[in-house]
């Protein structure tokens, strides 16, 4: 018999087996469908937090004392970190679309003059409301800051409510500030993280525990064939969950899908692939199913805490943000929120997708290196 290094037949053997086994495992199969629906309903409620130091750009057409005073006040307040003072409008819009800014404060032409004349000039504040929890605190604070800045300079007619200024708020991307719109894309990522890692984590350890690995290893199947055969079906199961979540999200919470579906599916594919490969790596390290499960939860916890799902990413300290960067969910959340709520396409989310691809490549290398070719 001729020996081939890469055999589609052997990969199909493992894949077909995994699908049959999953289909017969009614409990796990029910979990694949049930968990997303359950979590969607449970997490429909907001997890409210109050993040600080949100990146803000100021488009200042007028740079008088009141404007300077206002910017100084914003800078000293905890809520804002003024990233750029001298940008034009298109640049500012690009920054917020890419998620590099959370607020744009636009001060119009002749702002100071109109203020002195008592003509109630407008200040436009645009907030990235994809995560309403992250920006609402800042918006509230802004009103007070403007009032104080004007009072300090002694200008304007000083009406009690507006301070002589009309504050115009634009909640971008999620005008009503509906938390579910932010939570649902987040849940898509969390549910996929948990179930896909767990399922593949059990894939090899189950064979070890049942003793079937000895038979499998005695066959000509190569490590990469077994890995592919075990990973591909779970990518399929992952997409089954994506369908459940997206349909439920549309029906229960009327979450929009602003961007192209193809971009969403592409990003999701890379994300699921990274997760199942990670799960497979766990299962090459764990000695039994119990350990594989523990490792999954050990990984899952920082994933939901540090990715920006549970708490706004910008509200976390620097070290936590750094940790969050190595978690696939972090990048997935950014990309999916951008696609679903901001209407971004594939090109706009590339900055969030390449880290995912790098993570996937690294994990694959580890998984193949870890696979034991012998029973030693």
């Amino acid at each position: 018999m001729r020996y081939r290094r890469f055999s589609g037949s052997r990969i199909t053997a493992v894949m077909a087996k995994e699908v049959i086994q999953m289909r017969r495992d009614h409990l796990t199969f029910a979990m694949i469908i049930g968990v997303p629906i359950l979590q969607l309903i449970l997490f429909g409620y907001a997890i409210n937090t109050d993040p600080r130091q949100l990146p803000t750009v100021v488009v200042a057409a007028d740079a008088g004392p009141v404007t300077r005073s206002l910017m100084a006040a914003m800078d000293t307040s905890d809520y804002f970190a003024i990233a750029d003072r001298a940008v034009d409008e298109p640049t500012a819009e690009r920054l917020i679309a890419r998620g590099e800014a959370a607020f744009i404060v636009t001060i119009p032409d002749h702002f100071e003059r109109d203020l002195v004349r008592g003509e109630r000039p407008q200040i436009l504040v645009q907030a990235d409301a994809t995560d309403p929890a992250a920006t609402s605190g800042g918006l509230n604070a802004l009103t007070t800051l403007i009032e104080r800045a004007i009072a300090r300079n002694g200008t304007g007619s000083g009406t009690p409510d507006g301070g002589g200024v009309e504050l115009v708020l634009h909640r971008l991307y999620n005008p009503e500030g509906i938390t579910a719109h932010n939570i649902v894309p987040g849940l898509l990522g969390t549910i996929l993280t948990m179930t896909t890692i767990l399922m593949t984590g059990l894939a090899l350890t189950r064979e070890v525990e049942r003793g079937t690995i000895e038979n499998l290893m005695a066959t000509p199947a190569r490590p990469h064939e077994i890995m592919l055969g075990k990973i591909v079906p779970y990518i399929g199961f992952g997409f089954l969950q994506v369908a459940v979540i997206l349909i439920a999200a549309a029906l229960l919470f009327a979450v929009p899908l602003e961007g192209p579906l193809l971009a969403l599916l592409t990003v999701t594919l890379i994300f699921i692939a990274a997760n199942v490969t990670l799960g497979y790596t766990f299962s090459t390290i764990a000695r039994n199913q119990m350990q594989a499960m523990q490792m999954t939860f050990f990984f899952f916890l920082p994933s939901i805490l540090l990715s920006g799902f549970m708490f706004p990413y910008r509200g976390m300290p620097g070290w936590a943000q750094a940790l969050g960067e190595v978690i696939p969910l972090t990048h997935f959340l950014r990309a999916v929120r951008a696609i679903m709520l901001k209407g971004s396409g594939m090109v706009e989310v590339i900055p969030h997708v390449w880290p995912l691809a790098v993570i996937l490549a690294l994990i694959s290398v580890v998984a193949l290196a870890r696979y034991r070719r012998t029973l030693d």
Partner: protein, 315 residues
């Protein structure tokens, strides 16, 4: 169908697990068409040796070839041409009989797969139950399914690791008939077992104890090489006689088989004297009997590897 071509040829094969030597420099040759029994107590290294031969474990020392391929470097080629039946049932209990065979068929790239699977089912006599889950089969059927799965790709060598543990005598008999049929078709078989009757159905046996081969050859050769003599005592109070005998000089074993008491010793003169002295006045009679393989194995187990490695032809 035994001819000269060596199928397994290992020299000085050694395996250590965390510093403990489990298999200690063993040599073994199995020729084409032979059925070789691999015997020894639990933990003596049988499974470890079989796993090294088929590339599931990496040897720590020694060299060997299996089907002409190097066992350390060419295990993927060995795996293509070897059927391996594990000690534990290691097919998938949550797959049906047919699905299990399909799985194996795909792994070995058998074309057309359905024909191979149908033929295997037919040979097994399981065509009518092909959609039954493998986990619902009885021990005997599971083992037959495992055998069918391990020979479906028509291997040249079959490695069986205690294939009949926990299987009833009829199923065991049928299993061995099948093994002889396969050997008749030219398949070479290395089978590990605990059962004496199974050892006697092998062309040749190899006995391993604490990782060392302590006896090998055909059954009569191994019995003759043991140098043991047996006296059979009938009548009298055998339990009492057996107890007394065990304290006497020159008696290695005294075991009751139904109405016979088998007394085994290495020196026929001392053996006879001790027996005569013990049964005097008990009404029992003694006569020279034939030493059986089990007596030899008990001796080998008691010796724990101290017996000389002999047994006719070099193997």
């Amino acid at each position: 169908m035994v001819n000269g071509e060596p199928i397994i040829d290992i020299r000085g094969l050694t395996k250590r697990f965390s510093g403990r030597t489990v298999v200690d420099a063993i040599d073994m040759t199995v020729r084409q068409g032979e059925i070789v029994g691999f015997l020894g107590p639990n933990g003596s290294g049988k499974t470890t040796t079989i796993r090294m031969i088929c590339g599931l474990l990496r040897p720590d020392g020694g060299t060997g070839t299996c089907l002409g391929y190097d066992i350390a470097r060419e295990s993927h080629l060995i795996k293509l041409n070897v059927g391996y039946m594990t000690q534990r049932f290691s097919l998938y209990e949550d797959l049906t009989i047919r699905e299990n065979l399909d799985f194996v068929g795909r792994l070995y790239e058998l074309e057309p797969r359905a024909d191979f699977v149908d033929a295997a089912l037919d040979r097994l006599g399981l065509t009518g139950r092909q959609h039954q889950l493998a986990g619902t089969l009885s021990g005997g059927w599971k083992q037959r399914l495992a055998l069918a799965a391990s020979v479906m790709h028509r291997p040249k060598l079959l490695l069986l690791d205690e294939p009949t543990a926990g299987v009833d005598p009829k199923a065991r008999r049928e299993f061995w008939d099948e093994i002889h049929d396969l050997a008749g078709e030219g398949l070479t078989v290395l089978v590990s077992t605990h059962y004496m009757d199974e050892a006697e159905r092998c062309h040749r046996i190899v006995y391993i104890s604490y990782g060392t081969i302590v006896a090998r050859g055909t059954v009569p050769e191994v019995v003759a090489a043991s140098g043991l003599h047996t006296i059979i005592i009938r009548g009298g109070d055998q339990a009492t006689i057996a107890r007394r005998l065990r304290d006497r000089a020159g008696i290695e074993q005294a075991a009751i088989f139904g109405n016979d008491l088998h007394v085994v010793g290495a020196d026929p003169v001392v053996l006879e004297t001790s027996v005569a002295a013990t049964i005097a006045g008990t009404g029992a009679t003694a006569e020279t009997g034939e030493t059986i393989l089990e007596d030899v194995f008990i001796r080998l187990m008691n010796d724990g590897g101290a017996a000389p490695d002999n047994g006719g032809q070099p193997t």
